[in-house]
């Protein structure tokens, strides 16, 4: 894509090498993710779906990190709040809705896994599970494979700050550090692991842990997508240059309860939540685009209408789609082979 507009290079995004189209597209994706997520919550509250877990407030950074990646070559190992990220690397709202309703056509798992458990080989999104942090060593394995095959590929893995206290975080980071592998470790520090606040998860700063593995670690404000983009872009460049892994701690805040069944006011105050909700990165980014002339109210209305339509259609489709048959739900414990023993 080429850059356009008179503010070229004078804007923050242009200085980072992002075109105006990209800057706008980032905004659209943030809004798409937000609206999808809000719909998910509604559907859950209405009893139309059995589970929902939200990524609200984490979208700006998730979109920004996706934009720093190469969707043709890199490998993605997101976690269950990464709706905005997977939408940014190519998953559709319809696919998310199919997962939310647990339907056969869901490309992530055919409705086998909980919503938010992403996976799509086509989109280079690696299948994930519920036990947290297991994906960290997997990302290292993808980077190792890339290095062995001489591929210019980076793997990005994300997880919460609570999850960074699992042994697999340590073992994965250390392995990648020793072998200088092209991995970006992303800790989305949203202040809580279910009810447990950061202060009870760790007394250190998560980004500081990188030092002990011999690679750089950075903390970045998750509400500032352009700064997030910058930090990820640099990490991506370093990875491709053979300089090894980077740990990035995205500082954000979980404004929703942990999941649908969580009563968060048992362990935090409304005021605390409101304080953080006021710092939402989406309106701030909209102001940025508006200020530099890339956005206006008309575009906003048009966008919201488009998104609503897309989500409405996806919801309807997801709701109507069939479940995987119970017979098929028993398939693929192992590979199915044909008579000649070849995997089908």
């Amino acid at each position: 894509m080429t850059q356009s507009g008179s503010v070229k290079n004078h804007t923050r995004h242009a200085a980072l090498g992002l075109t105006d189209e990209q800057a706008v597209r980032m905004y659209e994706l943030m809004q798409l993710a937000r609206k999808y997520d809000e719909r998910g919550q509604l559907l859950q509250r209405a009893g139309k779906v059995n589970f929902n877990i939200s990524g609200i407030n984490q979208e700006p950074s998730q979109v920004a990190m996706a934009f720093a990646m190469d969707t043709e070559r890199d490998w993605f190992l997101p976690y269950y709040r990464d709706y905005a990220f997977v939408l940014s690397v190519g998953m559709t709202v319809k696919e998310l809705m199919l997962a939310l309703f647990g339907k056969a056509e869901d490309p992530n798992s055919a409705g086998r896994q909980l919503p938010g458990h992403f996976g799509s080989k086509r989109l280079r999104i690696v299948t994930g599970s519920s036990p947290v942090t297991t994906q960290v060593p997997h990302a290292v394995g993808f980077a190792l494979a890339a290095k062995m095959r001489g591929e210019n590929s980076v793997s990005l893995v994300s997880f919460g700050e609570g999850s960074s206290n699992q042994g697999d975080f340590h073992e994965g980071c250390n392995f990648a550090g020793v072998m200088k592998l092209p991995v970006i470790f992303v800790c989305q520090n949203n202040g809580y692991a279910i009810s447990v606040p950061l202060s009870k998860q760790t007394a250190g700063r998560i980004s500081d842990r990188a030092l002990g593995y011999g690679f750089p670690g950075f903390q970045v404000d998750g509400n500032d997508p352009l700064e997030v983009y910058r930090v990820f872009k640099e990490a991506h460049d370093r990875a491709l240059a053979g300089e090894g892994p980077t740990l990035i701690e995205v500082v954000t805040y979980r404004v929703t309860p942990h999941s649908a069944s969580d009563n968060d006011l048992a362990y935090r105050t409304k005021e605390e939540v409101e304080h953080h909700r006021a710092k939402d990165g989406i309106p701030a980014y909209r102001r940025y685009l508006t200020d530099i002339g890339l956005w206006n109210d008309e575009k906003e209305q048009e966008l919201l209408a488009r998104i609503r339509k897309e989500i409405d259609e996806a919801t309807e489709y997801g709701e109507r789609a069939p479940f995987q048959s119970v017979e098929d739900a028993f398939r693929y414990v192992y590979a199915e082979t044909d008579e000649a023993g070849e995997v089908r």
Binding site: N50, F51, G102, K103, S109, G111, R112, Q113, L114, P115, H117, S129, S130, P131, V132, G162, S163, N165, Q166, G167, D168, A193, I194, S195, V196, K200, Q201, T202, S261, D262, A266, Y267, F323, Q324, V326, A329, F330, V333
Partner: protein, 328 residues
């Protein structure tokens, strides 16, 4: 006697034992202010403070390992694993450490911990909030494993587990939490670890199992009694390690027709050992092959409701199997 929900019985056991014995404390993810994701530890932090109802970092190997250390130091930790699916990161601490501390030190050290973990499907939890991990730990010498089916047993076994001088895995069924309620005495009583109990007397077929599926078996037995005059003898193992061999053999001999039930996957489950014990000791007293009705050998279980339902045991599946066996 007051009727308590299964989960309330568990909560009460911890509360009463913490009142009685200052060495007892609970630890785990979200066990504090939140009171656990199912509510099993609700109120404990308010009553006993942050240290005795301790929110840990999100790290199961540490939860088990720190509990083991504290137990060796003379405390009586009750560690909660949020879901039994999430106790696998702690496997090494459980199998290599807790189970072997007494043995390897020739009785110099001991490890009186309890690890509580919810098992079973039925809450739309998908592949990682539905498993039964019994068979992973079953057969590890040095561990005791209990899996109560009733509120009465839940309280009595948890008190026994906390007081037991050895490590006890306490598998509570998340479907039982609020579905099952029965009479639970106030105050202390223990249900002995290692003793099965006869849930129902009968002379036509024997059902042996543990945890939630027994309730389906009881329902099925009632219907079969009414509709077909078939009387099932039902044995609740309660403790799955060590198994109550005598009770198993007695129950099997009673009818000569044995059906084993559990929700854990069939292959390699506790039921295999029960069948092996019977076929080793009682082969010629049997009037029918030993059958097992268990979770199928696929991961437990999918998120979508029809798939989950299809995976799980229920009254009808058990009734059909019991009838079939009775008619054998």
């Amino acid at each position: 006697m007051p009727v308590l929900e299964y989960i309330e019985a568990i909560r009460t056991a911890m509360k009463e034992e913490m009142e009685r014995d200052s060495r007892v404390f609970v630890l785990g993810e979200d066990v504090g202010l939140k009171g656990g994701v199912f509510g099993a530890t609700k109120g404990l932090q308010q009553q006993f403070g942050e240290m005795r109802s301790l929110d840990t970092p999100l790290a199961e190997s540490a939860i088990a390992g720190v509990a083991i250390g504290a137990a060796m130091a003379g405390m009586r930790p009750v560690a909660e694993m949020q879901y039994s699916d999430f106790m696998f990161p702690a496997t090494n601490q459980i199998i290599s450490e807790a189970a072997k501390i007494r043995y390897r030190s020739n009785n110099d050290w001991d490890c009186p911990i309890v690890i509580r973990a919810p098992i079973g499907a039925g809450v739309f939890g998908g592949l990682y909030h539905s498993q039964c991990p019994e068979s992973v730990f079953f057969g590890t010498p040095g561990l005791k494993i209990v899996a109560p089916a009733t509120a009465y047993d839940a309280k009595g076994l948890l008190l026994a587990a906390i007081r037991d001088p050895d490590p006890v895995l306490f598998f509570e069924n998340k479907k039982c939490y609020r579905l099952i309620a029965d009479e639970v005495p106030e105050g202390e009583y223990t249900v002995p670890i290692g003793k099965a109990s006869v849930m129902r007397e009968g002379s036509d077929i024997t059902v042996i199992g543990y945890s939630m599926p027994l309730h389906f078996a009881m329902q099925a037995a009632d219907e079969l009694s009414r509709e077909e005059g078939i009387e099932a003898h039902i044995l609740d193992l309660r403790t799955i390690q060590p198994l109550d061999r005598e009770a198993i053999l007695e129950a099997a001999a009673r009818t000569g027709k044995v059906l084993i039930v559990h929700e854990d996957n069939k292959t390699g489950g506790v039921g295999a050992e029960v069948a092996a014990i019977i076929s080793e000791e009682l082969l010629f007293d049997l009037d029918a092959p030993i059958r097992r009705v268990c979770g199928p050998d696929v991961p437990a279980t999918v998120f979508n409701p029809p798939g989950e339902k299809h995976f799980m045991l229920n009254k009808d599946k058990l009734k059909a199997a019991m009838l079939d066996l009775a008619r054998y």
